[in-house]
C-alpha cells in the first residue's frame, strides 16, 4: 500500500510499504477513506518531537471501513464504517475506567521510554513517535487499529466522511479544551491560535455557554474564519503592542475568565521572549517555544481557568508560573480523552448543529502529502485544514495499491472482505 512516511526533519515521502496485518486478537484493519494532516503532525515534520524514526508512517486523524477484525473484536464487523480516535486505549485499566482514555496504562509498547521523559507513560498514539508507542499511522491506504473494540466509533451511512472525519481528533480536542475551562454564564474566553483545534474550541465555547469568545492569531484567513464561522472577536497580535494589555482593555480591566492555549510548542511572536525561544529551538537547546503559554498566564484573570490543548513535549523555559500561582489559576491540559466526546459530538453533527467540514480548505490525494505538509506548515495558499483521500473518490481505485507491496497470502482475505461488503463509496457521501 501507499503510506506517508517520516524521513527526517521537513522530509516526508509517500512510499510503498507492506500492507498492515492483524498482530493481536483485539486488532482490526481499516481501509482508510479519509485522512487529515493535523497541526500536531507539524511538530513531527519540524522535528521537535523526539523518538521519531525514518520510515515511520504518519497520521492520526483517519476513518474508513473495517476490512478485517481479530478474534477478540466482537463489536465490529467487516464493512463497518468507523472513525478511529487518535488515542489508543485498552478499556480495562484504572484510567480507561475513569474515561481518562488518553492516559491508558496498557496501550503503549514503549512505555519505558515515555516514563523516562514523563515519569509515567500516557496512552499509545497513532503515528506520533516511538515514545508514544511507535504505532503506524493513518496517512495510508490501510491501517492496523489496536484495541479496535474500544476506540473506533461506527458511523451511520448517509453522512459524508468530511462531516465526521474530525471526530478522530480536532473536534473532540477543541471541545475538551472548552470543557476544561469550566465556562460559567457571563464568561469571556480568550483563545490563542486560530488553527483547526481553536476553530472547534470556539464552536464548543458557544455550545458550553460562553458569553464572549476572543481569538488571537496573525494569519488573516484564520482570523477571518474565527470571525465568520466562529462569531468570535479577534486580535491580530501583529497589529497590537501587547496582547495582554489589549485583552485587559477588551474585558473591562479584569482579564478573560478562561484562556485556551491552542498553539503549543511552536508559538510565533514578535516579542523578545519569542525571539529567544526561536533561537534556542533552532539550536535544538529546547523543544518548546512557550510564548503563547506565557501570555496566557499573564492575561488570565485572577482565579481564572487555563486550558491547554496545544501540544507541549518537553521542558519549558521562562514560563511565569509565579503569575499562575499568585493569581490562583486552575490549569487543565493533556491529550484528549477521545471516547468521552466522540458519540455526543457525532450526535450534534447528525442533528445539524455543526458542520465540521467548514475548516477544510484543501482536498488532496495521498501522493500530494509532501507538498501538503509544506503548504500547511507555511500557511500558504490560505491553508487551514488538509484532507486526503487515499483511495480516491470512487470504487475503481479500491485495491489500487493493495497488492503492490509483495505481501503474499493476503489477497484472498481481502477479496473476501470486499465481496462481503459490496457497498460503494457513493453511499458514504
Amino acid at each position: 500500500m501507499r503510506a506517508v512516511c517520516w524521513n527526517g526533519v521537513t522530509d516526508v515521502r509517500v512510499e510503498t510499504v507492506p500492507d498492515p496485518e492483524i498482530l493481536n486478537p483485539r486488532d482490526a484493519i481499516v481501509r482508510i477513506t479519509s485522512t487529515a494532516i493535523c497541526g500536531s503532525d507539524l511538530h513531527l515534520y519540524d522535528g521537535y518531537i523526539p523518538t521519531m524514526k525514518k520510515g515511520d508512517i504518519l497520521g492520526h486523524e483517519f476513518m474508513g471501513e473495517v476490512m478485517e477484525v481479530g478474534r477478540g473484536v466482537k463489536n465490529l464487523a467487516v464493512g463497518d464504517r468507523v472513525v478511529v480516535p487518535f488515542t489508543i486505549a485498552c478499556g480495562n485499566c484504572f484510567f480507561c475506567k475513569q474515561e481518562l482514555w488518553s492516559l491508558c496504562d496498557n496501550s503503549n509498547p514503549n512505555a519505558a521510554i515515555a516514563e523516562k521523559a514523563y515519569g509515567y507513560s500516557p496512552s499509545g498514539l497513532f503515528g506520533y513517535s516511538h515514545m508514544m508507542g511507535g504505532y503506524a499511522g493513518g496517512q495510508a491506504e490501510y491501517a492496523r487499529v489496536p484495541f479496535a473494540d474500544v476506540g473506533p466509533m461506527k458511523i451511520p451511512n448517509g453522512i459524508s466522511d468530511e462531516k465526521v472525519l474530525f471526530l478522530s481528533d480536532i473536534f473532540p480536542t477543541g471541545y475538551m479544551a472548552a470543557e476544561n475551562c469550566d465556562i460559567q454564564p457571563g464568561d469571556t474566553v480568550a483563545i490563542w491560535g486560530c488553527g483547526p483545534v481553536a476553530q472547534f474550541a470556539i464552536q464548543s465555547c458557544w455550545m458550553l455557554g460562553a458569553e464572549r469568545v476572543i481569538a488571537i492569531d496573525r494569519v488573516p484567513e484564520r482570523l477571518l474564519m474565527a470571525q465568520t464561522w466562529g462569531r468570535a472577536e479577534v486580535i491580530d497580535y501583529e497589529q497590537v503592542d501587547s496582547v495582554v494589555e489589549t485583552l485587559r482593555e477588551m474585558t473591562g480591566g479584569r482579564g478573560p475568565d478562561c484562556c485556551i492555549d491552542a498553539v503549543g510548542m511552536e508559538a510565533h511572536g514578535h516579542t523578545a521572549d519569542a525571539l529567544y525561544d526561536k533561537a534556542k529551538q533552532t539550536l535544538r537547546m529546547e523543544t518548546d517555544r512557550p510564548h503563547a503559554l506565557r501570555e496566557v498566564f499573564m492575561a488570565c484573570r485572577k482565579g481564572g481557568h487555563v486550558s491547554i490543548p496545544g501540544v507541549y513535549g518537553g521542558i519549558l523555559d521562562k514560563v511565569p508560573l509565579g503569575a499562575a500561582f499568585n493569581k490562583g489559576l486552575t490549569l487543565k491540559m493533556g491529550q484528549t480523552h477521545m471516547m468521552r466526546y466522540m458519540k455526543p459530538l457525532l450526535d450534534r453533527v447528525i442533528a445539524g448543529e455543526i458542520d465540521p467540514s467548514n475548516v477544510i480548505t484543501h482536498r488532496l490525494s495521498l501522493d500530494d502529502a509532501p507538498a501538503g505538509y509544506r503548504t500547511f506548515r507555511d500557511k500558504e495558499d490560505n491553508c487551514i485544514k488538509i484532507v486526503m483521500k487515499p483511495h480516491g473518490d470512487g470504487l475503481t481505485h479500491r485495491h489500487s495499491h493493495r497488492h503492490e507491496s509483495g505481501v503474499s497470502g493476503m489477497e484472498g482475505e481481502f477479496d473476501r472482505g470486499a465481496s462481503q461488503n459490496p457497498r460503494t463509496e457513493e453511499e458514504f457521501h
Binding site: 503510506a3 512516511c5 507492506p18 486478537p25 480495562n92 484504572f94 503506524a136
Partner: protein, 253 residues
C-alpha cells in the same frame, strides 16, 4: 503496607544468600594484593616466555588459579568479581493491576504462564510436589536450565520459589498480592533474584545469563499487567513501515 515492604527482605535473609558487604579497608587490601599478584604474574610470565622457559611460564599463568584455590576468590578486585557472580542482588518492583488478587495469583501460580511475561524465560514446567523445571535463554543463544521449588504459597497472597541447590543459576522470587486502597485493584509486589551459581562448570554456563536488572523486573510486571488487564501485549512488531535506514542516526533506540 509496612508488612509488604519488609517481608521479602526477611525471606531473603532467611535463605542465607546474602553475603557480607566488603568494607573499604578490605577492598583496599584486596585491590593492592590482587594488583601485586597480577603485575608480578604478568612480569614473570613475560620473562619466562622470553627465556623460552615453558614450565616457568606455565607456573606464572597458573598463579591466579593457585590464588583462587587458596582464597576462594579470583585475583581481581571485588567490584569486578561481584559483577559476574557471588552476591545475588534482589530486585524489587511493584505494579497495581485492576484485577482481583485471587485471579492474579492463580495465573501466576500456573507457572507455565510465566514465560508469557518474563522475557528471559523460555519455559517453566510444573513437576508437581512444588517442584518445577525452568528454562531460560541466554543472550549468547544457548539455554540455561534449573529446577526450583516453591518455598511459600498462600492462595491469593504470596508465592515464593527458589532454585534447588546445585543449579547453574541461583534463581529466587517472591510475589505478593495485596488489595489496593479504595478497591482499586491489587498491588503486586515482586522480588526476583537471578545469578550464576553452582559448581565451576555450571557457573561458567550460568554466567552467560546476565544478572536481572530493575528495568527487566519492571517490564516483566508491566507485561503481566497488560496481559491481566488488556488480555494481550501491545506490540508494533510486524507492523508496516517505510524504508528504514541501516543505522538510525536520529534516535538509536
Amino acid at each position: 503496607m509496612q508488612d509488604v515492604a519488609t517481608r521479602p527482605v526477611h525471606s531473603y535473609q532467611s535463605t542465607g544468600t546474602y553475603k557480607r558487604e566488603s568494607d573499604s579497608t578490605h577492598r583496599l587490601t584486596t585491590l593492592l594484593g590482587t594488583t601485586v599478584v597480577a603485575v608480578s604474574g604478568a612480569v614473570l610470565a613475560a620473562y619466562a616466555f622470553k627465556q623460552r622457559s615453558w614450565p616457568a611460564a606455565g607456573a606464572a599463568l597458573a598463579t591466579p588459579l593457585v590464588y583462587r584455590s587458596a582464597t576462594g576468590r579470583w585475583p581481581v578486585p571485588d567490584a569486578v568479581a561481584n559483577k559476574v557472580s557471588e552476591v545475588p542482588t534482589p530486585i524489587e518492583a511493584s505494579v497495581t493491576i485492576d484485577r482481583p488478587a485471587h485471579q492474579l495469583f492463580s495465573y501466576w501460580r500456573q507457572l507455565e504462564n510465566l514465560p508469557r511475561f518474563m522475557e528471559h524465560l523460555e519455559s517453566v514446567t510444573d513437576l508437581g510436589n512444588g517442584r518445577s523445571r525452568w528454562v531460560a535463554h541466554s543472550p549468547l543463544g544457548f539455554k540455561v536450565e534449573w529446577e526450583a521449588e516453591i518455598l511459600e504459597e498462600r492462595e491469593g497472597q504470596i508465592l515464593s520459589w527458589r532454585s534447588l541447590p546445585g543449579a547453574q543459576v541461583h534463581n529466587a522470587g517472591s510475589v505478593l498480592f495485596e488489595d489496593a486502597t479504595g478497591g482499586r485493584g491489587t498491588v503486586v509486589h515482586a522480588v526476583f533474584e537471578l545469578q550464576p551459581a553452582g559448581a565451576f562448570l555450571g557457573r561458567a554456563l550460568g554466567r552467560a545469563l546476565k544478572p536481572i536488572t530493575k528495568q527487566q523486573v519492571k517490564e516483566d510486571l508491566r507485561r503481566f499487567k497488560q496481559l491481566m488487564e488488556g488480555g494481550e501485549l501491545p506490540t508494533t512488531d510486524g507492523q508496516s513501515a517505510g524504508q528504514r535506514p541501516m543505522i538510525n542516526i536520529h534516535n538509536p533506540l
